[in-house]
Symmetry: C2
Amino acid sequence: MTAPLRIGIAGLGTVGAGVVKIVAKHHNLLAHRAGRPIAITAVSARSRGKDRGVDLSGFAWEDDPVALARRDDVDVFVELMGGEAGPALAATEAAIAAGKDVVTANKAMLAHHGHRLAEAAEAAGAVIRFEAAVAGGIPVVKALTEGLAGNEIRRVMGVMNGTCNYILTRMETAGLPYEEVFAEADALGYLEADPQLDVGGIDAGHKLALLAAIAFGTRVSFDAVEIEGIGRIGIEDIRQAADMGYRIKLLGVAQMTGRGLEQRMSPCLVPADSPLGQLQGGTNMVVIEGDSVGQVVLRGAGAGQGPTASAVMADVIDLARGFRVSTFGRPAATLAEPVPARAAAPAPYYLRMTLVDKPGALAKVAAALGEAGVSIDRMRQYGHADAPAAPVLIVTHKTTRDALDHALRAFGATGVVIGEPVAIRIEAV
Amino acid sequence: MTAPLRIGIAGLGTVGAGVVKIVAKHHNLLAHRAGRPIAITAVSARSRGKDRGVDLSGFAWEDDPVALARRDDVDVFVELMGGEAGPALAATEAAIAAGKDVVTANKAMLAHHGHRLAEAAEAAGAVIRFEAAVAGGIPVVKALTEGLAGNEIRRVMGVMNGTCNYILTRMETAGLPYEEVFAEADALGYLEADPQLDVGGIDAGHKLALLAAIAFGTRVSFDAVEIEGIGRIGIEDIRQAADMGYRIKLLGVAQMTGRGLEQRMSPCLVPADSPLGQLQGGTNMVVIEGDSVGQVVLRGAGAGQGPTASAVMADVIDLARGFRVSTFGRPAATLAEPVPARAAAPAPYYLRMTLVDKPGALAKVAAALGEAGVSIDRMRQYGHADAPAAPVLIVTHKTTRDALDHALRAFGATGVVIGEPVAIRIEAV
């Protein structure tokens, strides 16, 4: 058996401790599979004294992750600190500069600095792997980079934030309003310190940007992801969607269109009986469409100690086996700067709004839509007993987001629309 | 850019022609992803003149696949002829003997000769890859061998024969008997030349044996797979299962138990609202359960030109990238000879039988079950207006297959059971 692969772990939170557990528990199994032992030589974290439920006594300790990254007895730097920049970025850069391979779960760092890091890694002859950064334990980075590498990718979609899916599922099953379920999720510790990362769609947007780069051979372009969170989804939208045979999901969609690369992370209506529609609770799902393979669906736990550590270990084992592939599946120099295309592909939309209860109000809204070139598939005014305002539901035929926005802007001038309408894309999945 | 990876393709049926198409269509994309061009240098098939809808003029032709496998201008031998032995095996052995890597879609050959071929390949410094042999376009061999390599695998399950799933789905949706749907499938060309390979569960059994070897680090052991086809499933079983919230699937299950390795390919009842239960038509699904990752579900097209060629290309690209892993994910010498355990894990069973319509008949059946230690969860006698025979449905509590078989044998002595009862395991998925 050849020499051990020596890893240094920076960050001993849930995931870091999970990696320590797997290496301890499955030492022989990993050695057989990897063809060589995998050994943790050094670790780093903020607090040395904290009890993490794992035995760290056999590992060297570094207070500074940069020092860890530069250690001679570390072959692979495993970055599990998180954070877009700061120590995680500094230590990753130090590891690359020292010619070391990097395994990271850090979607924010890669979404913002991934292209530059990929270039630096290639220049240094190092490899960056990030299976754990996208959809937890689901081996989706590998599926896209390797398993479906013979395909021109048509579209990548995914429900990649378990917290949002938990909230939307719970709103539907318990019939509770957003605010109440949000408070529940917070109490359960499901939310990030900054909840906007979850419910605002940012965390899931980071993941989508990484998958899009691999899928379409483009530089990671997080700033070009159109992001909309789930905060405006009402229990009424969930009910109306269910009535029509749909469920509302925070869905990421990336596709290359004639106008450019479309990247969206936003609430969408999907058929309730589709795999995405059937996804309940905190589970993640990624759907990949390739020109030869058709549609491949991957489903599994998107977070948690075991699943995320499983993904980290897959990358470590690949490196132990000598697998070396460019960060985004092809040399960084061949990644094109994407032309962002805002919701280029036309789709039907669900609209919910409140109208003043006056004769002709509905006609004015219909006229505004017609003038914008948006045609109506079905329209429904419902449930108001002598109220001064009438809730109205409209499903449009396929339209572009531009035409729809044009109509939404024109609603203001009609004087009959109260407040802001809710507009949700209906995605064909 | 480095030298092209030169592949030779033996077998130009649906899948072989699909590979030729992908290489022609995506030459540049593949070169970027693989880090080097992929070039077909030579091909071989039974009939040289046949029009396959692809341009073969740029490739050398060999009548003999063994000669193709030995050519100096072939780096990777792509075996797409099929067949457990014969020319496919001879040519694969020749390629390995010449130190060449092999990519194959041949589940029958690997299920029967996989261990020996893996040993030979390792001795020769060659690699065998077989993503296309299991579940078509779904990258499941990669997910299990690489993506989940940090896990001790608990169970692998799958619906891996699209024809059987098509037949069972169509029986349910159209309310047609097995024989009629079988004839339909035959007319549509969905069946293998020997239909027992499909409906008898053999083809799916081959695939399960390959996944089990990777999952549990055991030598491929196809002979130890308990195989039962779908031929005895009646429309009545499908209806009764649906009534209870289940669907019947030809389900492969492999798990390591205290008594040994359990490998089954047989009809099972699964909850209708589970991912496996929701799988309709010809699609495949594989469920992998690992100690860290939990449950990962993969779904996609299990057959067809595009999907299967996509899987072949993934293996070719991996080899072009220099990825080298042992055939079953660890050195052949470390694969244990499995102890076969017949349906070791206890489960509830669905039983359907016909009883003579006499007082006490049901009591005799219940007594036989009780004596075998099988307890009854629910029992139902249904739908017979003055008929001389009464159909009876029983769902047992969890029991071993041995205890159940004991009871089934005792049914004969009761003198009240007409014909052979149908017994279908209810698998917790």
